[in-house]
Amino acid sequence: MTLSLDWMIPLIPEEIVIIFALAALAVDFAIVRRMNPAVRWRVIGATACAGCVGAMIWIGRATNYGTSEMLALSPLTQFIKLALLGLALVVVVLSLDARFTRHTGEYYALLLLATAGLMLLISSENLLMIFIALEILSVPLYVLTAFDKTREASAEAALKYFLFGSVAAAFTLFGISLLYGMTGELGLGAIAAKLRTQPVEPVCYAALVMTLIGFAFKVAAAPFHFWAPDVYEGAPAPIACFVASASKVASFFVLAKIVIDGFGPIRGGAAWNDFRAGWMPVLAVLAVLSMAGGNIAALAQTSVKRLLAYSAIAHGGYALLAFFGNARQMLPALLFYVITYALTVLGALAVAGAVENSANGDRMAAWAGLGRRAPLLAVCMFIFMLSLAGIPPLAGFFGKFYLFTAAAAGQPHLGMLWLVIVAVGASAISLYYYLQVLKQIYAVPPPAGAMPLRASRAALFPIALLAALVIVFGCAPGWLLGRLSAVLNSSAF
């Protein structure tokens, strides 16, 4: 018997990330444990950065694509992994000045493990693999959410996240087992083939709904969103950034993969003149609930992080509109939207973290006069908020525009226009609460004797970079769209 290691080759980027995760632990234990915190965070952070960058370089160079029953490596999956690694890298840098825990090595190791889970999730072609990857992603995130032991909110958030997450995972697992029982398959392609030939039994729809619940939880679509506000508010700031950005991008991609590849034959219909059972009506209901619920709840928030959480729920609802587009536009619209959204919300939460650090809270009052106290942070927040509100020429505007156009064009006779109308209306309402934040920043004078707010360079640099990207992708969306259609065309998705 010869020992072959060939199977490890396609997964080298994931392996790099895992190895560096272990390296971060080892460096911490062996070398820097007794040094002062600044040095310790920087050394271990540099190790984590090296892991992300190494994996990115490998992905950029490797061209061995292929698909097996379990895994798919295509230009598309590799492109999304690059985006995810980029987001993770920003989170790693943002964490450099965090001082909420003494367990630096464990912190970065868990962060990298969660990143590895994300990458695996992107490549999985098999429901069981998808489930495993989801757990590899989720378990570190539960722990990381609880990492700030000085705050009760952190523990509470983690507990909620864990309880909701595990129930949702149970639903998904049950759905998968039902599917397996009916079709005898776990691969997405094989399931689709069976569904196409077999008569569709009612229990099939039960399986569909249960599987989707797990993902609705992951993307924080209403009514499975209850964990989100607490996690955004309670988790350490960089972890909230990670949950809101990278985790969301990956979850949406996998959701798209499952419903198109796996459940393609039972799509049903959600057009106003053609309502049929399938995943389309389920997603349409989730979208409406998320857009309406998220936006209305956000109107009443006084904490900016909670406001961003509810706005994230609403944005999840907008993103679901992409699923009603036609085959050619659906994925570019979805991916453009979630990637630019991830950049924006990552930046906004990072600013919120910086403000929270200096003002002991992120209540609206803590933002008063930020335009005076920290001009650069304020300008960046201005850009992020307006992009989330969908004001041109920022990335969020074009992302929404493309989503809405794709959804309207996706079904014959403007079938999905009703959902577009809901989305456009919801989006108009949302300007109200984004402007509330901006009003605090620019229109309300700073409290008497307020000191200028100094954010560390490790926070300022990524935030400014993200703001610049939001402008660039808004003014010239052609580059990202071109990349997306190029990788899509060569991936035969």
Binding site: P332, L386, I391, P392, P393, F397, F398, F401, Y402, F404, T405, A408, A409, L414, L417, V420, I421, V424, G425, S427, A428, I429, L431, Y432, L435, L438, K439, Y442, A443, P477, G478, L481, G482, S485
Partner: protein, 495 residues
């Protein structure tokens, strides 16, 4: 030449952002220079257009592929209608800077937002790609909000938010209509002239037209969606109200004409009477409410609703005389409303610190500030529509056009004019010419400054010039209304 107006304004705004925060003088001069440069470009462009294209067809300024996947082009072009409004924007921008000379708080930011707003307005008037037009249209919302929320007066946060939300709801309606039109026409182009050639199904036009038209007309103060206008105008700083009434309301009317009416001529036929009725209700209602206001700014705010009603009524006549009256009325009202707000906000309120007519009554302003009083009387006469001023020609054309189509409504609109004269006379008497108890010398009042005089003369000169020589603008407007783009609309279908 005309495309430079947009670029110059945004560059001016960017330059202001980079100035040091304390340099108020430099900020003012930069803003004035930028506005003047914009006006110069607009004038040069207008002359160039009139010499080269007598046929009134649109002339391309810039056209390149912007977002290829969706067939979106960065397409700027101009015809007589857009040039008229670009000229208005240029003049209003210069006057607005002159009347904001006394802004001392966060001067640099004020003018940066001001120029950003001006740049977006130029952009809307010159865009011939619907996506681009919509981008500029939405871009204008944010500066408006901050100009009012930071530098405004009475209930400024409420007024600012109300304006922002009304604008956004209007543009949401427009967006739905645009996306639907794009999809129905085969998702091949957002180009205005191309889409105008496409024959949209009648059933589609019947719901798309009111959606897009009302979406735009909210910003033009169409009754009953006008309620943002009085509160917004009152809350805004002087230059803000001047721009709101002067050019922002025209964005709405322009969009209604340029997009809703040209794309959906059959829908327009179907809804013509209903919208004309709303326009006339606006004329009469605005004038009547203005008659009983105590706050001087509210008087002018409601009078704007009334005068914009003439624009919408003129649009609904679909006759050449009515349409050219509507476009001329956009220009004329922009100048006159700007002037009235300048007198009320800058010359009166900044000195007397009140706009309440009962409090102004004893002050005897005509003796305290004769320049303000004279300016206001002339502007009021122009606003009433007396001959010799631009408003006369415009409203006369609108009424002549409307008489042929809606005789009864035209009579009602005539009543609106009479009420308009009444409220203006009431304001003259109460605010300026009441016999006051207080001696003129009792209140020290700062004299009217040079920039104010210059701004007032620019606006007064314009309205008199157009009043005496309307051909200057009608030579631009009439050929354009005869061009194929608008003829399809008048005849009820694409050529």
């Amino acid at each position: 030449m005309l495309a430079w107006t947009i670029l110059i304004s945004f560059l001016g705004a960017a330059a202001l952002v980079l100035l040091p925060a304390e340099s108020r003088r430099a900020a003012r001069h930069t803003a004035l220079l930028t506005a003047l440069a914009g006006l110069a470009c607009a004038l040069a462009g207008a002359v160039q257009y009139e010499r080269s294209a007598a046929s009134g067809t649109p002339v391309d300024l810039v056209n390149f592929s912007w977002i290829a996947d969706l067939h979106i082009h960065f397409h700027l072009a101009a015809d007589g209608v857009s040039i008229t409004l670009v000229l208005l924007t240029g003049i209003a921008a210069v006057a607005g800077v002159l009347f904001s000379w006394n802004i001392e708080r966060r001067t640099r930011e004020f003018f940066a937002l001001y120029l950003a707003l001006i740049g977006s307005v130029y952009g809307v008037f010159l865009s011939f790609d619907l996506f681009l037009l919509f981008v500029f249209y939405e871009l204008a919302i944010i500066p408006k909000y901050f100009l009012i929320a930071v530098w405004g007066s009475t209930r400024r946060e409420y007024g600012a938010m109300k304006l922002a939300l009304y604008s956004l709801v209007g543009s949401a309606m427009v967006l739905v209509g645009l996306i639907a039109a794009y999809v129905v026409s085969g998702a091949q182009t957002f180009d205005l002239t191309e889409l105008a050639k496409y024959h949209f199904p009648a059933a589609f036009q019947h719901w798309a037209f009111p959606l897009v038209f009302v979406g735009f007309a909210i910003l033009a103060g169409l009754w009953p969606f006008h309620t943002w206008a009085p509160t917004g105008h009152v809350a805004a700083p002087t230059a803000g109200s001047m721009l709101l009434a002067g050019v922002v309301m025209k964005l709405g009317a322009y969009g209604a004409l340029r997009v809703a009416m040209t794309l959906f001529p059959e829908g327009l036929r179907a809804w013509q009477n209903e919208i004309a009725l709303l326009a006339v209700i606006g004329i009469v209602y605005g004038a009547t409410v203005a008659l009983v206001q105590r706050d001087l700014k509210f008087v002018i705010g409601y009078s704007s609703v009334s005068h914009m009603g003439f624009v919408l009524l003129g649009l609904m006549t679909l006759s050449k005389i009515g349409l050219s009256g509507a476009v001329l009325q956009m220009f004329s009202h922009g100048i006159i409303a700007g002037l009235l707000f300048a007198v009320v906000g800058r010359m009166v309120y900044d000195r007397a610190h009140t706009r309440d007519l009962t409090e102004l009554q004893p002050m005897n302003l005509s003796a305290l500030a004769p320049f303000a009083a004279v300016t206001f009387v002339i502007a009021g006469a122009a606003s009433m529509g007396l001959p010799g001023f631009s408003g006369f020609i415009a409203e006369l054309q609108v009424l002549a056009g409307a008489w042929q189509v809606f005789p009864r409504l035209t009579l009602l609109a005539g009543v609106g004019i009479l009420v308009g004269i009444a409220f203006m006379v009431r304001v003259w008497i109460k605010a300026f010419f009441a016999e006051g108890d207080i001696k003129a010398s009792a209140i020290p009042i700062e004299p009217i400054s040079m920039p104010e005089r210059a701004g007032a003369l620019v606006l007064l000169g314009t309205t008199v010039l157009i009043g005496l020589w309307p051909g200057l603008l009608l030579n631009l407007i009439t050929p354009t209304l005869n061009s194929t783009l608008f003829q399809g609309m008048v005849k009820g279908g694409p050529q």
